[in-house]
Subunit: 409 residues, 2 copies
């Protein structure tokens, strides 16, 4: 737990990205997040990339800072244990986060045992049909305007942006519902469809209204920034940088850095426009880019960095992820957001906590992702208050398991 | 307000995407969000796309469901009004959301007037240097693995994914800090750097650990899904669809739909692998795609839809945004997430509220984005408790203004 903002206990039954990331986010904010796992691992436990030990860097990255209980979810006794965990007492408890549709985890079922239960269900589409980030993204229009893309040759994004947005919405939903429950005693059934997360965003960013009112499909602009000035440029030493001139200050800094005041004034005069207006910069983007392009191509990245940083230009180099991790000071341990963890079967490496900082308060460290069932006994004893005899019987009958049944242990 | 989950009053002083979207998210969850505006409009008030009236579809989309007070922020009297708004009494008040660095809105300054104030500051980088979605994204490594991209020819994303992630994190941070203040009385200084939001996500998704431990830069895969099977395909009638076979059920549905059981079995036999393992599907993606490609190319979109939907394949057509808004049932008014608004100078159109649904509770309607200063008087009278005489004097001296000073009114 990096932060002590949330004081919750969340039972997470989930797979893939959105729901586990929501749980991770809550855990880093201070929640006790207990993942319910199938004995032997769920659908995404072996997802690429893998370490030689068989442990998944994907899974262990999304499930840091959580506890794990391994249960045979096909058996009624196992399902009853999960229901009991979700509906156990305590004003900070009674919270389920899931993306797995199962009748026995229905809000109505759980509310019979705890009237003020809060459940958050992440779905593909509202009607229960399947949708994943890739299929939702295809429908947004973004792949038709990305890079060299068009509707006939769409370019998918690689970042699962809609899963991420959905995760943080779900975390917010749970936090807000808990706040309301403290004030009013009300529980909440929270439902969030991935497709709604994506399509509502088109409305919030103005693309949905543009489509309806102006009937326009935004064309692909390559790496140009829409609505202002910005693009990628090559340097003399074969590197590439992204440069943005969105605000007036950023634009002025760029013009000054490139020493292109006269050329820009001439261009403004010829067009009868002032580039103080960002949309005029957008209209003239090719002509402006030609000036910046020549300037960058004549200088090395190191030389450009000195000039741009001195003038506070908004820019940055393109990196590969290994280059970022090796060379960018923003991901070093001096940044309080990063710490070193050493998960079993993975080995020590830098991992990130919550990006949120509360400078006046101490920041806690996370625990690495658990082995499956690493906390089975402590959860059964501590949360459900079972006797050690009862816990032993659950093990003996195969309803629960400890970390010895983790296939990567 | 769509939902009544949050009962807060938030003072928002912001521009661009992340901070306004955080405010919109809180407003749709139930918060009273009051935007503080420069008289005549801030830096992003005229951002593209524009309606013929001059009103921005970008700005009016991000500022739905909020109130607006217009103040001359260059004058000490104006700044004192903002400070008074942020630190005004009430257990639900005392909250600032901003991305504008200004000494007079420092957490420490505001805490002198209200010890339990909650401030949330969105920054580019932690050190105060500038960074925007485009420059941060360049450093993540994603543009080098998008579409046909490489580190020498990166492809930028068009969706401002990091701004969106940052917005929802900020909204969560405020909700969680308010929850803690209710329990403990503590205020909070919350800081969130856009670059940390992006780079922490690389850790959560396993790319940061992959880079450190395996030293690998993930190559560009075009439209292939990493780690499982999925890609775009052309249909007989010149459309394109995205198809995903990530889970075992999705994969089985695809094999059945395409009637390729025998070919897949032969391929598995030849490779000595079982495609029950999603990573084996990933390794054999080109051979599998060749089979699906031929099947899709022989059928129209309509024919494919019938077969895929019957078998519950995870798929979807590529659309332009106008096509989505015109033809996709998921963005029609029957979906409770969408409603019709008619903002001044824009005209009636469908807009989205919060993607979150609380099925057992009534859902409220939003108000359209305000004109600048539309709520100046009611905020001064109702929140600060000024007399109408005092409000009149503030108008006369030009410290505040009503909607008549909105350049688009």
């Amino acid at each position: 737990m990096n932060l002590n903002l949330l004081d919750l206990r969340v039972i997470e039954s989930s797979a893939f990205i959105a729901a586990p990331l929501a749980g991770l986010t809550l855990a880093q904010f201070g929640a006790d997040v207990i993942r319910v796992e199938m004995i032997g691992g769920g659908i995404d436990y072996g997802r690429l990339p893998l370490m030689p030990s068989g442990r998944s860097l994907y899974w262990t990255s999304l499930n840091k800072a959580k506890r794990s209980i391994a249960i045979d979810l096909r058996r009624p006794e196992g399902r009853e244990l999960v229901q009991a965990l979700v509906t156990a007492g305590g004003e900070n408890a009674g919270i389920l986060l899931t993306n797995i549709v199962s009748k026995w985890l229905d809000h109505g079922e759980l509310a019979k045992a705890r009237a003020d239960v809060i459940t958050c269900m992440i779905e593909g589409n509202q009607d229960g049909t399947t949708a994943v980030d890739y299929t939702v993204n295809a429908a947004t229009g973004y792949p038709a305007m990305t890079g060299p893309g068009s509707i006939d040759a769409p370019v998918n994004h690689v970042l699962p942006a809609w899963d991420i947005a959905c995760a943080f919405q779900a975390a917010l939903a749970i936090s807000a519902a808990v706040d309301r429950r403290r004030r009013s005693g009300m529980g909440a059934e929270l439902r969030l469809a991935l497709s709604d997360v994506a399509f509502t965003m088109l409305s919030h960013l103005g693309l949905a209204s543009e489509a309806q009112l102006l009937g326009e499909a935004r064309p692909s602009l390559g790496n140009h920034i829409y609505g202002a000035f910005g693009r990628d440029f090559a340097t003399a030493d074969g590197k590439r940088i992204m440069v943005a001139g969105i605000s007036a200050a950023q634009w002025a800094a760029l013009v000054k850095s490139c020493g292109m005041e006269a050329e820009i004034a001439a261009l403004e005069g010829r067009l009868g426009k002032s580039f103080a207006d960002e949309s005029a910069r957008f209209d003239a983007r090719e002509a402006i880019a030609a000036l910046v392009e020549g300037w960058c191509r004549a200088r090395t990245l190191a030389d450009i960095a000195v000039i741009f940083d001195r003038n506070r230009v908004c820019w940055g180099p393109y990196r590969t992820t290994p280059d970022l991790m090796a060379n960018d000071p923003r991901v070093r341990l001096g940044n309080p957001v990063w710490e070193t963890l050493d998960p079993v079967g993975i080995g020590a490496h830098r991992v990130a906590g919550s990006p949120l900082r509360t400078p006046a308060e101490p920041r806690g460290a996370m625990t690495p992702a658990p082995l499956l069932g690493q906390h089975t006994d402590e959860v059964l004893l501590g949360v459900l208050g079972l006797s050690s005899g009862a816990v032993g019987k659950l093990h003996d009958s195969g309803v629960v398991a400890g970390p010895e049944r983790d296939p990567t242990a």
